[in-house]
Structure formats: C-alpha cells, structure tokens
C-alpha cells in the first residue's frame, strides 16, 4: 500500500498507509490529519484541500485540471508551482508514495 507523508506547516509529520482509489484528501480527512479540511468532499467546490507536493513527486502526478487550476488561484495560502488540490490526487500503486506539505491556512 502506498504511503502518504503529510508535513504540517509547523513541521509535524504524519505518515499514513493509504487505500488505493482514495484521494490524498480523503486519506487525510478520514485519519484526522489537521490542515486538510476537504469540506466539499472532493468535487472542486471548496479549495480547502490545498497541498504543496514535494518537487520530486510533482512530475509523476496527473496534470492540473481546468477547474482545479482556477480554484488554486484563489486558495487561502498563495499558490506555488507545486500546489495541488489533494482531492484530485488519487492514490494508486503506479503513483506510489507521496510527500505533501500543508499550507498554513485553508479557509
């Protein structure tokens, strides 16, 4: 099972072995990772699941979708080159382990 490593804005690390098919957002919310809210449940309506993906993982990810791109432009913490909405990142064996860092604020 792939492992997702979440580093909070303060540097706290949580490692969770994720279920394939779940999103990086779902994995965080179901396990109570503070800093990812996921209020809309993953339908690109809230942008409270913003993460910065580790540079080393970024190129393996699916491209940013059109709606996701727009939502990222309005996130509470400013967008960076590796910003993603974690509800759009689906855990799979092919994608493997991921490391994401959380912004200071989501709302």
């Amino acid at each position: 099972m792939p492992t997702i490593r979440y580093t909070s804005a303060d540097g706290d690390v949580r490692e969770i072995s994720a279920t394939t098919g779940d999103s990086v957002m779902q994995t965080a919310v179901r396990n109570g990772v503070a800093g990812i809210v996921g209020e809309c449940g993953g339908v690109l309506s809230c942008a409270t699941c913003h993460v910065f993906v580790d540079a080393g993982d970024a190129d393996r990810l699916p491209p940013v979708g059109e709606l996701e791109d727009e939502m990222l432009d309005g996130t509470a913490d400013d967008r960076r080159p590796t910003s993603r909405l974690s509800c759009q990142l689906v855990v799979s064996d092919e994608l493997g382990d991921l490391h994401v860092t959380l912004p200071e604020a989501q709302e």
Binding site: N31, A34, V43, S45, G74, E107
Partner: protein
C-alpha cells in the same frame, strides 16, 4: 460542580454536524468521554453525492464515509449506530439520560442535538404508492438507484436543489425527465432571478421538461398499488414510472420539543449554539440560528455542509468552555449536469445586483450588494469569482460594483475594505435553503 456519575458529552445525530462537533471537541482539548449516537446503520457519510455521483451509478457507498474506524478509536469517540433516541430525561444541571427505541440508555453530563432534517412529505391522494421516492439518506438513494434501472419516465416534484440535481442525474442516465413545481422559478428560495432563469434554460436545453406554477392533485396508480404518474392541478396528467419528491426538508425538532426547548422552524439557538435551556447545544440542519452576517434577515435555518460544519465548531467550543460566536458567511454548492453553482454569502435584502460575464457561455456570476457593500455571489462554472467573494466576505471586504461588472478584471485583486452596515433588528426565522 460536576456530578459524580461523569458520563461526558452525548451527541445525538451522527452525520455532518455530529461528527464535526465530536471531532472539534477533541481539537478544543476536551478530555471527557464523547458518545455520538445515530439512527442510521451506515457509518457517518457525506450526503451531497447521494443526488449526484451516487445516483449516476459511479460511486460505491463506502467511498462517502467521513472518518475511518481508527479515527474514532484514536480520538476516543464512541460511535454508536442504528440507535434512534426517542426520549431524553434531563436534570436542571443539564445532565441526564437519553433512551433509544430499543431501550438502550445513554447517560450524559452535556447534550448536543445534531438531528438534521427529514424530507417534507407530499400530502395528496396516492402519495403512499410504490414508486414514489424521497431522497435524504443512503438507503433512499440506493432504493432510488435500484428503481431507476426499471424506469424510463421520471417525474420530479419540486424545483429546488434536490429536485434539480436528481433531474440532472436522471437525465444523464438517458431517461425522460419532467419537473413540476409550485413556484414560478427554480431554486427560488436560495438564488436570485438571473440564476433561476439560467438554470431553467440550461435544464431545458439538456432535455428536461419543466412545468412551473402548478400543484400536484394526485399520484395516479395502476390498480396494483404502483404509481403511474401525476394529475396536476391544472388538469394535466404527466405519465411516469417513477415519482421523486423533493419539496424541501423539515427540521427534526421532536426531541427538542420533548425537552421543552424553544422551537421555531428549527431548534432555536444563540450565536454560540446554545439552546433555550442554556446548557444543551445544537447545530446543523435542525437549528434556527442568528444570521452570521449583518443586513440579511436576522435569523435563519440554512441547510448546507458549510453551515453544519461551522455551527458544529461553534457548539463544540461552547461545550469546551470557550466563546466562539458563529460569524462565518455561509456558502454552498450544487452540481447539475456539467454546471457547478457556487454561492457565497446571503443575498436577501440586497438592493443592487451585477451580472459578471455572459450567461450564454454557461460561465458567469451574479454579485449582490447591500448599499455599496458586497453581500453575496452566485457563480456558475466560475470558481475563481466564488473563491474571491468567499474570501472577501470572510475578511469583511468589498469589490466596487463598477469593477465587478467587467469580467476581465479579476475580483481577487479588486477587493477593498468595506464600511460595515448596521445589523438589522432581530425578528422571526427564515428558511434559506430546502
């Protein structure tokens, strides 16, 4: 002083508000036992996909759960499913015992009510026939999905969010869809004229038939107890294999009434989520609360994920001995076909509206102003506008109407500090969504 039989917090209702309340209590540092008891047999889950992805068939119900079993265990939240609380005895200090229909007893020192709402029933001859469905919980959605495999013509009663989301999902499955509604426009209680009009055309373009300003006289039957369509009050008959009723939801207030709490279109709470007994808290679809923004009607019952979550945080803070008034401008979304509607703020009492962009492109926003202060936005396929307005409202800023009217000017960089309007006097409650 705490009573000696310390039993902690009992949360009645295990859904959006109840799970948030329990999680927030731990985040707020409460160490007491927490029990969340719910009537449904399913572990707590999101409702929004029930009328959208789940109905369209591409979603297993397990993917909707909020939290893993390990989460509840780690947080020491005792989640008890499949137990409907039918009576509560309470002592003057706020502690007491709740009893379920199967006789199980749940003692508590503090009580939280997050019991939600139930669908409003259609009250006409034939409404109890097989083939008449409502949609509130997973069991309803699974039953409806099953019925859809055998239905070609579906008629939906109600032109609010649930009715229209069901209409869109069912139409996407290739069925004949007719929507009948008493109102003269769609989603009339929640959005303004331009959005209603846009969605009317959008649904018609995608093949739905809409009948406005008409009531249901009766559900007709095939002689074997199954629905065959609707007789409308204008004399029309609409044939159908399946009838879905989405005419709003009624807050579940029976436990609150039984406890002698003040109830007025929902359990009446203050801005800290406290009910009239001064110790019990309540949150979510079941409450009528002070409106969190100035200028709109003074009290509201607002049915959305965001309101349930924010009210639950506030109620949790109150139980944890903190003061966190409910002041978040509410927001919600609705997905219908490929149209994403996102609404931030409250447009009631607004005197100016600005249409930003061209509805013909299926991508535009409507911004609402009270005086010269931005109060709300209704955005279709325009998440950037929505995000900018949500952030501006939360920060108490505005966007000059003249700038907002130009879709080429980003709203985010056009926000300015606003002069806050005086809060309106408090009177009776009002339903904003349903």
């Amino acid at each position: 002083m705490r009573p000696t039989n310390e039993r902690g917090v009992l949360v009645i209702g295990a859904s959006q508000a109840g799970v948030q309340l329990a999680s927030s209590l731990r985040e707020q540092g409460l160490d007491d036992p927490i029990t969340v008891v719910g009537a449904e047999a399913h572990p707590p889950y999101q409702r929004p996909p029930l009328s959208k992805a789940l109905l369209q068939g591409d979603l297993p119900t397990g993917s909707l759960v909020f939290r893993s079993p390990q989460f509840y265990a780690e947080q020491r939240i005792d989640l008890v499913l499949d137990q409907r609380i039918t009576s509560v005895e309470r002592r003057p200090d706020g502690s007491g015992v709740a009893v379920s229909s199967s006789g199980r007893r749940f003692p508590f020192t503090r009580l939280a009510l997050t019991v939600g709402a139930r669908p409003r029933r259609l009250d006409v001859p034939g409404a109890d026939l097989a083939g008449v469905r409502y949609l509130r919980d997973t069991d309803d959605a699974l039953a409806l999905r099953e019925d859809l495999t055998r239905a070609d013509r579906v008629v939906i009663v109600g032109g609010g969010f649930i009715g229209l989301e069901v209409a869109a999902s069912v139409r996407r499955l290739g069925k004949d869809v007719t929507v009948v509604l008493a109102d003269d426009r769609l989603m009339g209680r929640a959005v303004g004229e331009p959005i209603s009009e846009f969605f009317r055309r959008a649904h018609e373009r995608r093949g739905c038939t809409l009948h406005f300003s008409v009531g249901v006289a009766a559900v007709t039957d095939d002689g074997n107890g199954r629905a065959t369509g609707l007789d409308l009050t204008d004399g029309t008959h609409v044939p159908a294999d399946l009838v879905v009723v989405g005419i709003g939801a009624v807050p579940r207030t029976e436990l609150a009434e039984h406890l002698g709490l003040r109830v007025d279109n929902g359990i009446v709470v203050d801005e800290h989520g406290l009910t009239s007994d001064g110790t019990t808290v309540a949150a979510g679809d079941c409450v009528n609360c002070p409106t969190p923004v100035a200028g709109a009607s003074p009290r509201m019952r607002f049915e959305s994920v965001n309101t349930a979550v924010e009210q639950a945080k506030v109620a949790a803070a109150t139980l944890a001995g903190k003061r966190l008034p409910y002041r978040t401008p509410p927001w919600f979304w609705s997905d219908q076909f490929d149209l994403k509607l996102q609404v931030a703020g409250l447009s009631q009492g607004c005197d100016q509206q600005v249409v930003r962009g061209d509805p013909g492109t299926e991508r535009f926003s409507v911004l609402y102003y009270r005086g010269d202060t931005l109060a709300a936005a209704e955005c279709v396929n325009s998440p950037l506008d929505f995000m900018a307005v949500r952030a501006a409202l939360a920060a108490g800023s505005t966007v000059p109407a003249a700038l907002a009217a130009d879709p080429g000017t980003p709203l985010r960089t056009s926000t300015r500090p606003s002069s806050t309007g005086a809060p309106a006097p408090r009177t009776h409650g009002q339903d904003v969504l349903a």
